[in-house]
Subunit: 127 residues, 4 copies
Amino acid sequence: MAEALKGLELARAAASKMGVVLSCAVVDARGDLVALARMDNARFFTADVARGKAQVSAMFGQPSGNLAQFGTSPAFANLNLTAQGRLYPVQGAVPLMRGTQLFGGVGCSGGSGQQDEDAAKAAAAGF
Amino acid sequence: MAEALKGLELARAAASKMGVVLSCAVVDARGDLVALARMDNARFFTADVARGKAQVSAMFGQPSGNLAQFGTSPAFANLNLTAQGRLYPVQGAVPLMRGTQLFGGVGCSGGSGQQDEDAAKAAAAGF
Amino acid sequence: MAEALKGLELARAAASKMGVVLSCAVVDARGDLVALARMDNARFFTADVARGKAQVSAMFGQPSGNLAQFGTSPAFANLNLTAQGRLYPVQGAVPLMRGTQLFGGVGCSGGSGQQDEDAAKAAAAGF
Amino acid sequence: MAEALKGLELARAAASKMGVVLSCAVVDARGDLVALARMDNARFFTADVARGKAQVSAMFGQPSGNLAQFGTSPAFANLNLTAQGRLYPVQGAVPLMRGTQLFGGVGCSGGSGQQDEDAAKAAAAGF
């Protein structure tokens, strides 16, 4: 948890530098929420979207943006049904890896997909 | 957000003093997530339960434990259907008030209902 | 997985000794399925019930039969909504513990609650 | 059940030869789960996906990969709604036939679609 909160701090620093307000979320390898923070004035739904992107990255061990195509398939729709529609196969999250070992994901929402991903990468670098 | 993260820190300090590991969440007046942290070894579902208690407190301006009775009513079941089952009318959260003005809720999960509420109160005191 | 399959074998031996046909399931600490086997002539729905009992034991670190009371609460109904109705707070499963460390659950369905639990305990003893 | 467990063993042998970790599932003619095993390090959701592919093969008497096109139709979406989103019309499962008599399906998940199907075929050969 301490690492996750530290990661969120780094994401916020990156967001501030880009001049955007974001929600960012850290999840574990199973996709369950570890920590989340929504910056002042970020829209209400960005918190859930940040989490959903992080979850997708943790499930597939890839940046959530890579799953945009797969995200339109019936198979993904099913996974999302099981997850109560929480998954967001959209750019803005990266997996957390220790060597080849996947241990979670971090995702942001509120800026452009690229800005979200840049902030997520800044967070991931802190682990 | 800064206040929310500070509140979560106070909740964790209270949890550590009680010897329990908790998830705690802060939501705004609309019940949307502002910040959340799950302490190491707290069970995975405590994050969503903490959020759901905080949401109930923010919706009704009362400790979530006060809603236990109402939580069994068909009316509450309907609210919860709209909220995809996220609301937890269970002890462990308190509303955030500035004078008579409700501005959010904070909730914890992982200990007994009383321990959860004590940690939530510690967080609320920091706002 | 090898341990889980071995545990299921022990559960079947116990079931045969009791003269019942059961489905038994092993889940990990998060409640996700690791292994499952349905004995010949066990009813089709026993597979999902066995899994749902095991999941409850893994979530709460207790025999699923202990959760019968809590299983009637709105809070449990919510957890079950999130889990697509898969949770069965009914006798017949036990948690898997290594000292005080919870690492999963094993549950059976098809006999009486007591027979199901006895077979689950036989499985648990093999880990 | 004994045959199903034997089939899963053959699927694992095939998976090991291919250097992948898979979940594999056997279902009966009705699509209900008979046996399932998730290999160590296979991702948590592969268990449900393996089952869902096997279910599709058992329902239509065809490799699940043949249903990819039909899987995008409203009719299939309805079937899946009835099945709570459990069906996966995706390569990786084959039907179990005795002559022209359909008696179940076996599916795998965790590798590429082709690897999943190869392991499923190895399992089917054991019946």
